[in-house]
Symmetry: C2
Subunit: 400 residues, 2 copies
């Protein structure tokens, strides 16, 4: 594919996403839904105007990274640490129910144990991107519910990584307890070390960073750390966005740099690529058969119920509405579910029918969440802030 | 190449470029040279830490686009139009001498007429990126000399496109006057129409753009237009950066949007990719043979002399120092020279020896320019502004 063609597609993605965002915003719907639908309409499975190349995957990933970095900038380590117990509880509870219900359902209706275990594993993964975007659009990233969701999503990603490793190992008959343990140690060490140390390192070296001669030294250092930790997270098997989120959280320690205002233009440019390219992966064709439709409906219902009951239940001490917000926020499977499904198809663990159902479930859980989340926050009657990214120091006192 | 690997390389490119920029800035050298050298050192021809994939090409292109968009934002159409005659004279003069001297030299020393005509064509192209970056770093984009250089580079690109089309046509023996005329009409129409109309369209629709509901409406529209015009420029055969430059110039009409301040973070993120990836294309291996070294030295001398005498001569009416600045500013061949050389090699018009010499000439003309340009502007004793991108309204009265 020549560079000119890619350039045209990047223009198309960006312009169409922003246009759709504008229309959805005027209809008082979450703009992110418009961006995903643009991808569905223009992607390879529909109009075919947007292809799927490594370039598309990289801009998609960069969009997700900038999104989670921005969300991290709104998240203080102290605030997360103060609710650590609840975060672990919600994250863990959100794994058990979807895994067991997915496993049981597929084993009972469709076939082999290998398949069933894999589907269970695929039902587990939370894609925090869409929830994070809705929280960001609503200006409530620093609310207690948001902090529980964001923290639990990190726990979720670690456990999901393990479950998937075990499920793939079972299917390939070469499961190694040592390998799984190594994966766990690496992932936990990354999150604990980076999450715990990076904020201190940033605070301690703030004056040195400010002494940089190149323009916008703090922004440049923050972006470099964000890219570096994203790559490192990928290296230990976690999602790159976990690294980006932790990087953002580290730089949230120096509010005087006003990094949110500086990153905002980069956010506006890159984040749409994440949602549009995610949309292009959707193949509505799987929904044309009746039996598939039933399968999709059942798996989607289980996927929603599993997170809602598991996460919402573990968060019940926060009060009914807050627990519901947490449960709903953990529902989307997004691109994570689609990626897991692709791995299962490529390795021959699941067939095209279950693959299609997983993809459809991932999309449906992703599309239903934003309006519900928006409504739940709205009923709490906080005036929606006009500017998407209030400065950290402005919203400091609002949350919790 | 998996996405994790690409992510790591993007981190490496960004971090190394900024570190080199910081070091060069402290040594009072142009930081852009540090960025190019990082690419040379880490690229496939040296340490091999940075590969060459379509992703690298796209981020390189995006960096160049943002760079030229930013430069365009500092350029008012009125200021360009007022010096239109001089711009056309400088651009045209910069074509004739390099073409004829390159042709004559290679025909006399190396071989066939086809090769000689192609080398002449390859000597023609100006890569305005490096000059634009130096002007931007020095904060003198709105000076009279800068405006002449930027305008003449557009003229240069149109004429260079034609010369190359003719040279390739001669080498392939299928030159069509109609095809060449069509190319000329398309390129000129694009520049005249877009350059003349876009600023008016932006001014006329400013209030509508401001009424957008999505955050940062003006920035979003400007970025969309920038990507769109870049793609369109590529479509008519021009360099994409011409489209980006014209887009920037169009939005320079609404200084109250402060787009420079908003684009600056995007600039800091993406522009280094242009210079580092450009550096990775350099193969210092071609400089190891004695006879090649002589060839490179001769071609580089002709390339420099051709622009210096041609462009400087056509700008002589501006005074000696200003004419020298214009001449020096047009010297770099950069990635344009390398791309032309690659086409010639791929189509079998030139051999590896002349290819290596063209690449080396492109790099050398690119590396010698920034320090000289910096020194020439410094001698004019303007206090170098601390912030790289002064707001348009602040520097309005300085230039010319």
């Amino acid at each position: 594919v020549p560079t000119e063609r890619i350039l045209f597609e990047l223009f198309l993605i960006f312009a169409a996403a922003k246009l759709a965002g504008e229309i959805f915003e005027r209809l008082r719907q979450p703009p992110v839904i418009g961006e995903v639908l643009v991808g569905v309409a223009l992607g390879t499975h529909a109009l075919g105007l947007i292809g799927h190349t490594p370039v598309h995957e990289v801009v998609q990933e960069l969009g997700a990274i900038v999104l989670m970095f921005m969300v991290g900038l709104d998240t203080r380590l102290d605030h997360i640490r103060a609710i650590g117990g609840r975060i672990v509880a919600v994250g863990t509870a959100g794994i058990v129910l979807p895994f067991l219900s997915g496993l049981a359902f597929v084993y009972a209706t469709e076939g082999g144990l290998d398949e069933a275990v894999f589907i269970g594993a695929a039902m587990v993964a939370t894609s925090v991107g869409i929830t994070a975007r809705v929280l960001s659009d609503l200006g409530v990233v620093d609310s207690l519910e948001s902090r529980v969701i964001l923290g639990a999503a990190v726990v979720d990603d670690i456990l999901g990584l393990l479950v998937l490793a075990i499920a793939s190992g079972i299917a390939r008959d070469d499961i190694s307890p040592l390998g799984v343990a190594g994966l766990l140690v690496g992932a936990v060490a990354f999150v604990v070390l980076v999450g715990g140390l990076a904020p201190r390192v940033v605070r301690a070296s703030a004056s040195k960073i400010e002494a940089a001669v190149i323009p916008r030294g703090p922004l440049v250092v923050a972006l470099a750390v964000c890219l570096g930790l994203s790559a490192l997270a990928g290296l230990v098997g976690l999602a790159a966005i976990i690294g980006a989120f932790l990087a953002g959280m580290a730089f949230a320690e120096v509010p005087s740099w006003r990094l949110e205002a500086q990153v905002a233009p980069v956010y506006e440019l890159l984040v749409p690529f994440f949602f549009v390219v995610t949309g292009t992966n959707v193949d509505l064709g799987v929904l044309t058969e009746w039996s598939s439709l039933v399968l999709v409906a059942a798996m989607t219902a289980l996927a929603i119920a599993g997170k809602l009951i598991g996460c919402g239940g573990a968060a019940w001490g926060m009060g009914g509405r807050s627990a519901t917000i947490v449960g709903v926020g953990m529902v989307p499977r997004g691109e994570v579910g689609i990626i897991v499904a692709s791995v299962g198809l490529a390795e021959g663990i699941i067939g095209p029918r279950l693959y299609g159902a997983l993809v459809a479930m991932s999309i449906l859980t992703t599309v239903v969440t934003p309006p519900i989340l928006k409504a739940l926050f709205k009923e709490r009657a906080r005036p929606p802030p006009r500017e998407r990214h209030p400065r950290t120091d402005e919203i400091e006192g609002i949350g919790g």
